[in-house]
């Protein structure tokens, strides 16, 4: 499903954010990426949805080399992905509802369908009672949950989550990863970046360990 071959990334000289990373994540896998702060976890995830273009290497997703897709076709790749960003990236001038609905609006979903799906997604992360509120009125952990709801609303084939539980209490964190596991069981490939050892211990099918841009350990499922 997701194949990275000898991916290197340099933002600024000197130093490499990623150096020679080769990974294959199979369809339906549930996979953690971990490593110290600044080790390149987010960068690795970003290359997968082409927010970051690697300096060298190839990335094949669903059989397609995503580095060869022209800029104006990139949306086709992203419509199949649900992404939870480390910095949430919420629409702060839109209501909670619109923040989730936007993932359906871009594909022109009818309103009624949209309302139902949005509500279901918000209930999953326990935010349905704030549906008409604004993100700026949410606590930080609630914002994180909103970001998660948006990522899952569209039944994506691939789910990428960057530190999705960094601002949640341990109980809620377990619930959220449980939710991801649930989605994974329906066939979605899931990749999660996290620092939380407890979660990895509890759910870790497969763990990728990054250190200064290099992949240290590859644990097969």
């Amino acid at each position: 499903m997701i194949e990275l071959y000898h991916v290197w990334k340099q933002y600024q000289k000197p130093g490499w954010a990623l150096s020679d990373v080769t990974i294959t994540v199979k369809k339906g896998e549930f996979c953690f990426i971990t490593g110290p702060s600044g080790s390149g976890k987010s960068t690795l995830l970003k290359t997968m949805y082409r927010e970051v273009v690697p300096t060298e290497g190839q990335i094949i997703i669903g059989g397609k080399n995503i580095l060869k897709i022209p800029d104006h076709k990139i949306y086709l790749l992203r419509r199949n992905m649900g992404i939870v960003y480390q910095d949430f990236r919420l629409l702060f001038h839109r209501r909670v509802f619109d923040n989730v609905a936007v993932a359906l609006q871009v594909i022109g979903a009818p309103m009624k369908d949209m309302k139902r799906k949005v509500f279901i997604a918000l209930r999953m992360v326990n935010l349905h009672h704030r549906i008409w509120d604004y993100p700026s009125h949410l606590s930080y952990g609630e914002q994180q949950r909103l970001a998660i709801a948006r990522a899952v609303v569209n039944n994506p084939r691939i789910l990428l989550a960057d530190e999705p539980t960094g601002n949640l209490d341990p109980k809620l964190a377990v619930e959220i990863i449980g939710l991801f596991k649930e989605i994974n069981k329906q066939g979605t490939t899931v990749i999660i970046c996290t620092h939380d050892k407890e979660l990895i211990r509890q759910f870790g099918d497969r763990i990728l360990f990054l250190h200064e841009g290099k992949l240290l350990r590859k644990d097969a499922a």
């Binding site: 104006h72 790749l77 419509r79 990236r89 609006q105 948006r150």
Partner: protein, 299 residues
């Protein structure tokens, strides 16, 4: 699906317009002002052209005929003048009419003229030119030819008048093109910049739309609609203000203007001018937002 998208676009545009209302109000003011000034100059130049046409009716060449010229020869000259392609209208002025005219201009001469036994004035033919913009050398050639005729004793052609009218219309045109061009450009820049600001303000939103799989067109359409509405609203508003000004300004200046009042009397724009102002507004808005989008959202 198209209907859902259309609904979304309209809602989005309305949202955008409403959310940055301060900015839009301010840009609208300036766009409206620009179009207002364009409109004003259009109106002024309309009126100037009318005035120039009025004046051109007085643009005449006067042929003074020999005294006691036989009527047949006089007719011959009149026919010759009348057939020139330059001439629109011909009027024959008898000696009696000429004397009367002089008396009107100089009432002080009354005694003198009354005391004369014969009318000292020659008859003359006044030829009104068809087009006040006729090149001077053409007119001159016509005059030289007429002078060859023995019956024509003298020719008067006030070149100054023709020059003045020609340069007045040229001036109006120049000022119109100059100011109009600058201000339309200014409106374009303003709209382009407002949209750019909006794009900037929504930079993170746009990024999010891209990240959840929105196409370029999907992201752009609301901004284009925004630009078009701004431009059209601006020009519509300016037309309305212009209407008010053309009604109020003359009243304000009032009777004190005397003869000049006629020169600056404001008439409203023609229907086709109104239409092209509004369409121009929309077009400028469209181009403005397009230009700012192509730079900010790579195609």
């Amino acid at each position: 699906m198209i209907i859902y998208k259309a609904k979304y676009f309209l809602r989005e545009t309305a949202n955008n317009l409403w959310q940055y209302k301060t900015r839009h109000f301010f840009s609208l003011t300036i766009i409206c002002l620009s179009f207002l000034i364009v409109g004003l100059f259009l109106a002024i130049s309309n009126n100037l052209r009318d005035r120039a046409d009025d004046l051109s009716k007085n643009l005449v060449i006067v042929f003074y005929l020999q005294k006691s010229l036989p009527a047949a020869e006089q007719d011959l000259i009149e026919q010759q003048v009348r057939h020139s392609p330059l001439v629109a209208d011909v009027r024959v002025i008898s000696p009696a009419e000429a004397s009367e005219k002089l008396l009107q201009d100089f009432p002080g001469l009354k005694d003198i003229l009354m005391n004369l036994q014969t009318n000292p004035f020659p008859a003359s033919i006044e030829a009104t030119l068809k087009d006040p913009r006729t090149p001077y050398d053409q007119t001159l050639r016509f005059i030289t030819e007429m002078k060859k005729n023995a019956g024509v004793e003298d020719v008067q052609f006030n070149r100054d008048w023709a020059d003045k009218i020609q340069s007045l219309s040229r001036l109006a045109q120049a000022v119109g093109f100059f100011l109009g061009g600058i201000l339309i450009l200014a409106s374009f820049i303003i709209i382009s910049n407002v949209i750019k600001l909006n794009v900037f303000a929504r930079k993170s939103e746009i990024e999010i739309l891209r990240l959840v799989g929105g196409t370029n067109t999907f992201i752009r359409i609301p901004f284009l609609l925004e630009g078009i509405s701004l431009g059209m609203a601006g020009s519509l508003l300016s037309l309305f203000l212009l209407l008010i000004i053309t009604k109020i300004f003359p009243v304000y200046l009032g009777t004190s203007l005397g003869a000049l009042q006629e020169l600056i009397s404001f008439r409203y724009l023609s229907f086709s001018q109104v239409i092209s102002m509004v369409a121009g507004g929309g077009f400028v808005g469209f181009l403005g937002s397009l230009s700012s989008l192509s730079r900010f959202l790579r195609i």
